[in-house]
């Protein structure tokens, strides 16, 4: 039978990020901003859908106009095909079946 010491000793909790590389605030802010802009460009359709679901009001009406204009612009420069292509690819994978016989 093994015995414990009377005082309760907690095992050290390992942190997921304890051996991660540190970064400075300006770089991190730039990275988050860059990510947001890329998401705004490639995900303009999702943004429009989100704005469409906001409660009706003057501000959301204005937002809808802006989001619609943004979406039209992104369609014009042909960056919206990215998410549609991925969605179609996934649907095709879902439809795959083993050959019978």
């Amino acid at each position: 039978m093994d015995k414990e010491t009377p005082a309760i000793v907690y095992q050290r909790q390992i942190e997921t990020v304890e051996d991660a590389l540190p970064s400075g605030l300006p770089g991190v802010c730039a990275a988050v901003a860059a990510g947001s802009i890329v998401a705004l460009v490639l995900g303009s359709k999702d943004l429009l859908a989100w704005v469409n679901n906001l409660p009706i009001g003057p501000f959301s009406d204005y937002l809808l106009l802006v989001a619609q204009a943004w979406q039209d612009q992104m369609v014009h420069v042909r960056v919206t095909g990215y998410s549609d292509t991925l969605h179609k690819l996934l649907s095709a994978l879902q439809a795959l079946r083993w050959r019978s016989g």
Binding site: Y10, I14, T16, V17, A20, L25, A34, V38
Partner: protein, 471 residues
């Protein structure tokens, strides 16, 4: 407000930029983070903010009383009172109707008369987690793991900090309060690792967990009688993969978000299906809960100090209560009981439990396979709506002659991908981060933005809540 939604994305962006703009005003930053955490919680039900605040203030007061008390007896009385009241709160909201239901069933069986009337009780999201945070604080004060009581603002933040508020990881007071007391360092943000964790978490939840649920697990668990043994087996594997992807995704995103705000959370998962035994499994699965149960419940019950039988009793009690912590249902008690039984058997026949380092490669593979399949069997009770459904699911393993209908290339691919995460090197995220260290952080951010849109496009329309939200 679920993590993988645009609502949360916009909320987080605002919190990120404002909180770092306030970095030179630590008290204002803390007040801001408390405010937004309560706002996050209010998005579910604003009335429960009073419960969250009340619980925090109560534990803060009890911390002061325990710290000031002289004499071991008085300290013990106060900490027992604090734990009892925390558990009473949890018990009322989570278990009142469960025990009432059981009592009514007994009354009906014994024909003792009228039923006890039910109360309409709404379960506050995350109550199991914030109650455990509160208990952690008062017990750590009692055990002198914390040298002096924390400020009220620190306790409010510790208990309500939004990434861990509704589904963990369970952060110890003795681990997190020093982080709150120290100023955050704007030169030491672990952003690369945070981005990898967030992206990995989003993929696991939005793509893997969601499609595993809708394509494999949900329909079979709803009506197992419609399926043969192969589909039942696939659904069982599917749920094992789904719950891992779902819960570890939440944890990864929570850890990533906290890291971007300058805080560090403990590891919660470590490739659990690689476990060679149940003791090993609980050192890899929901580590923050299993270590909490060990330090605050199992050891308090006496741990392994009073002989083998007391150890087995303590293991069984800890796992039964751990099961019940998950939900007010006998299924969770059975699930916890089965894990307790497996741990007792392991301790009885393998001194100190099975450990990967002590096994030959062949035995390690065999032990991993046996453990995985036994864990899968216990998941049946965890997932099924009630005992009847669980039994019906298990009985389905006898319908061997029925051809499988769910073994599509997509489902098998999803399952393989989910399980393959367990067979990467344990430090693969750290390796990936190091290998791309030369890439400028701004490029990491841009790629992360593109990948977030990609993950969203690959996911099904609509988003199921995380499984652990119900606990």
């Amino acid at each position: 407000m679920l993590f993988p939604t645009l609502n949360f994305g916009l909320f987080f962006l605002a919190v990120f930029f404002v909180s770092w703009a306030l970095v030179r005003l630590p008290r204002t930053r803390l007040a801001f983070l408390i405010l937004v955490s309560y706002g996050f919680y209010a998005a579910w039900d604003w009335r429960f903010c009073f419960l969250l605040g009340g619980s925090s203030v109560f534990n803060w007061l009890m911390g002061h009383l325990i710290h000031r008390a002289t004499g071991d007896g008085r300290r013990k009385l106060l900490v027992s009172l604090a734990i009892a009241l925390n558990l009473a709160l949890l018990g009322f909201f989570k278990y009142f109707n469960f025990f009432l239901n059981s009592a009514n069933a007994l009354i009906e069986t014994l024909k003792l008369g009228r039923d006890i009337p039910y109360l309409e009780i709404v379960l506050p999201v995350g109550i199991s987690f914030f109650t455990f945070h509160g208990i952690s604080y008062v017990v750590d004060i009692y055990r002198r793991k914390i040298s002096r009581p924390a400020r009220l603002s620190h306790i409010l933040f510790y208990i309500a900090f939004f990434p861990q508020l509704v589904a963990g990881p369970i952060v110890r007071a003795s681990h997190f309060l020093p982080q709150i007391a120290a100023p955050v360092d704007p030169h030491d943000i672990r952003a690369r690792r945070a981005l990898l964790l967030i992206l990995g978490g989003l993929f696991k939840k939005v793509v893997l967990a969601n499609y595993l649920a809708t394509g494999l697990a949900d329909d079979v668990f709803f009506d197992p009688t419609q399926y043969g043994a192969w589909d039942i087996l696939l659904a069982n594997y599917g749920y094992a993969a789904q719950i891992y992807c779902d819960f570890s995704a939440y944890t990864d995103i929570a850890i990533g978000i906290a890291a971007l705000l300058g805080y560090r959370f403990p590891v919660n998962f470590n490739q659990p299906y690689r476990a060679v035994g149940f003791q090993d499994f609980w050192q890899r699965w929901h580590i923050s809960l299993s270590s909490w149960l060990r330090d605050y419940l199992y050891i308090s019950l006496g741990g392994n100090r009073r002989g083998a039988w007391m150890r087995y009793r303590n293991l069984a009690l800890t796992m039964l209560l751990g099961g019940l912590w998950h939900g007010a249902s006998w299924n969770f008690v059975i699930w916890g009981g089965l894990h307790g039984l497996a741990l007792i058997i392991e301790h009885r026949f393998f001194k100190g439990g099975l450990k990967p380092a002590t096994l030959t490669p062949g035995r390690k593979i065999a032990a991993t396979l046996v453990t995985f399949h036994l864990v899968c069997l216990t998941w049946v009770f965890f997932r099924a709506a009630d005992f009847g459904h669980a039994w019906s699911f298990i009985a389905g393993f006898a319908r061997i002659g029925t051809a499988p209908t769910l073994a599509t290339p997509f489902n098998l691919g999803l399952l393989s991908l989910s399980m393959s995460l367990h067979f990467l090197p344990p430090d693969w995220v750290a390796r990936l981060e190091t290998s791309m260290a030369r890439v400028p952080l701004v490029a990491w951010g841009a790629v992360a933005g593109a990948l977030i849109v990609a993950i969203d496009s690959l996911g099904p329309s609509g988003m199921a809540p995380f499984i652990y939200f119900q606990f």
